[in-house]
Symmetry: C2
Subunit: 371 residues, 2 copies
């Protein structure tokens, strides 16, 4: 029999936390009193799971508990997997999902990133340094303003320029017009610079709306797309990746919450497993509060070898400054995308120049690191 191993941190004094571990085991499998479940032979033989390991947490606040949950129930579909991983127990305020180990028998359910880190390097033609990216914002820019901004950063040499995640199909800047205008802008810049920036539209809406946007964007020839998997739903994200995606996809963290799933597991494993080629996360020292160590773990988890799954590209973001390029490259290494929005945009008329300086500082930092 094959098992999915899932590790939770459970708060509480040892006996209390141990009792909760048993409760989580039942909650994530049979969801009935144990004696009810044991009455049925097939359930008893195949569904019960077990507590595999239980050890005190370093901070003394509870237990690290690893459960073996039956693959036979978790592997049925992309929603059921989440259900077994952290369905009802997500409502237990004292339980945090720490990690999981996917058994080989389940690797067929997921194909992971379709393009991954190498696919993004190929799409941008950047091989030996971090990728650079910026965002088109604020929401409320009219079509011509968005296109002008896109052209300017493309002329400055940025590798990717993405829609802000607040750019949806607004009447004042409709999706299809924006995709056309931005592709024209990066083409015009390419004629002058000889290098084509990858424009990345943001997809938003219900599954039908998002599918239409993706089809349109791909038909127009975009080099990548972005969407927020936790907002749109991981099972839908999975379906889109498996059945329709022809270019790399950047995962945006909107609506991802912050406290009940370990960051390295959510951003590093789950999003990669469901098919993100690059994962944007709230970097340390920015507008959000993830510690530096956590950010390092997210990046490592995204890139490390994992079964049949391509490595994905970490994208630390959320209030980064161009001045931090050297520090960030030193910390994250070469396989990273540096996404800098507001700090670039605040350059105003000097935006093209500031963009060029940003790229050059990344190139220098990469050279220093490589030698």
């Amino acid at each position: 029999m094959s098992f999915l191993q899932v590790t939770y941190h459970i708060d509480g004094a040892p006996e209390e936390a141990a009792a909760r571990a048993e409760a989580v085991l039942l909650e994530q499998t049979v969801e009935t009193p144990r004696d009810v479940a044991l009455r049925h032979e097939f359930v008893r033989a195949h569904m019960m799971g077990s507590i595999r390991e239980m050890a005190p947490l370093e901070d003394g606040r509870g237990l690290r508990v690893t459960l073996s949950l039956p693959t036979v129930t978790a592997s049925v579909d992309a929603a059921q997997f989440l259900n077994v991983l952290f369905g009802n127990s997500s409502m237990h305020a004292n339980v945090r999902l720490e990690n999981f180990v996917l058994p080989e028998q389940m690797q067929g359910l997921f194909s992971g990133p379709k393009f991954g880190l190498e696919g993004l390097r190929a799409a941008t033609d950047v091989q030996h340094r971090p990728l650079t990216a910026t965002a088109l914002k604020p929401v409320g820019l009219r079509l011509e303003e968005v296109a002008a901004l896109c052209r300017t950063v493309a002329e400055g040499g940025i590798d990717l320029v993405k829609d802000d995640h607040y750019l949806a199909d607004h009447p004042f800047c409709p999706f299809e017009d924006r995709v056309r205008a931005c592709l024209r802008a990066v083409d015009e810049a390419a004629e002058r610079t000889g290098r084509r920036t990858v424009y990345v539209p943001n997809l938003s809406g219900t599954p039908d709306q998002v599918r239409r946007q993706l089809d349109f964007a791909q038909a127009q020839g975009v080099g990548a797309v972005m969407l927020a998997p936790m907002l749109l739903g991981l099972p839908f994200f999975y379906e889109l990746v498996h059945e329709r995606l022809e270019v790399p996809v950047l995962a945006h963290p909107s609506f991802a919450g912050s406290t009940r799933i370990a960051e390295a597991t959510l951003y590093g494993k789950l999003l990669r497993l469901y098919g993100a080629d690059a994962v944007i996360f709230a970097n340390y020292g920015g507008r959000f509060s993830f510690p530096q160590e956590t950010c390092g773990q997210i990046a490592e988890t995204l890139r490390q070898p994992w079964g049949p799954y391509r490595p994905a590209l970490p994208v630390p973001a959320g209030g980064m400054q161009t001045e931090r390029a050297t520090e960030l490259v030193t910390f994250f290494g070469l396989d990273v995308m540096l996404l800098i929005g507001g700090s670039l945009l605040s350059a105003g008329p000097a935006l093209r120049e500031r963009t060029r300086e940003f790229i050059e500082s990344v190139e220098r930092a990469a050279l220093t690191l490589s030698t």
Copy 2:
């Protein structure tokens, strides 16, 4: 101009929390430094939003902050609404979404429950007492066992019997076979009792899988369906309700988390807004830790008058005991569905009798309450 009013609780000493309030305002609107946003006339005029109210929290731990966020950006689609409500700020560990007021101008985006509380009363033909429900579990029951269980509780007179949320399209109990077998079981019971229990299958998978399941179940004549909107994605749930649903839908709380969106707002407002006819939540005194007051608020919020939206039915659940029927009816009133799983199932061979006693205790409690 029209605004969506959103209230957050922000932790911190007064000055610190006030600075965070300004940061949340920028984060949930233009997501750039204020001076960058103000450079653009349309943005300045239509996108900035404002802090409408700010007051110390009763417990002294922070501020209650109400923001006015521009409807023009929030109302574009069912994903963008969540994005503006609690997109990036969900990553701020010190920010909790408390509440929102939907302006009339946005009510056209949502149609809320298609059937609602009254639709569920009509579907079950129960008018003057709480609805009773139970679950088919544990996962791992074979087809014949599920059908037998379904028949027994139907003969006992239960109003609704739903699949456990862990029942997906498993090879050992496939979805379509289960729907057929359970409908046959409730029909057979109806021939003996004269009353037809509503069987509620659980829908799980990617959007395409769930659509196929829904189409099949509706074609077979089920009286209601269940799914987990936070697991499948709220925008997909919205689309399913608006475009395909022909019977009431019960929202299951799996993957809903517990701590960063006020329970009454998540279960009471958001799920109703997106179209749930009945909302299952973790009741006080069960396997989860929601306080009684919170449960009361969820129920009130689901049922209270709200613009054009039908009232939805609260479904307190999660380790309820049949013995608590009187207490629960007294607390929640008549407009409630009592969902009792394990406690009924543990009756074993006495299940039909225990089911009948459960219904009778609800009828007695309702009579006492009405007189």
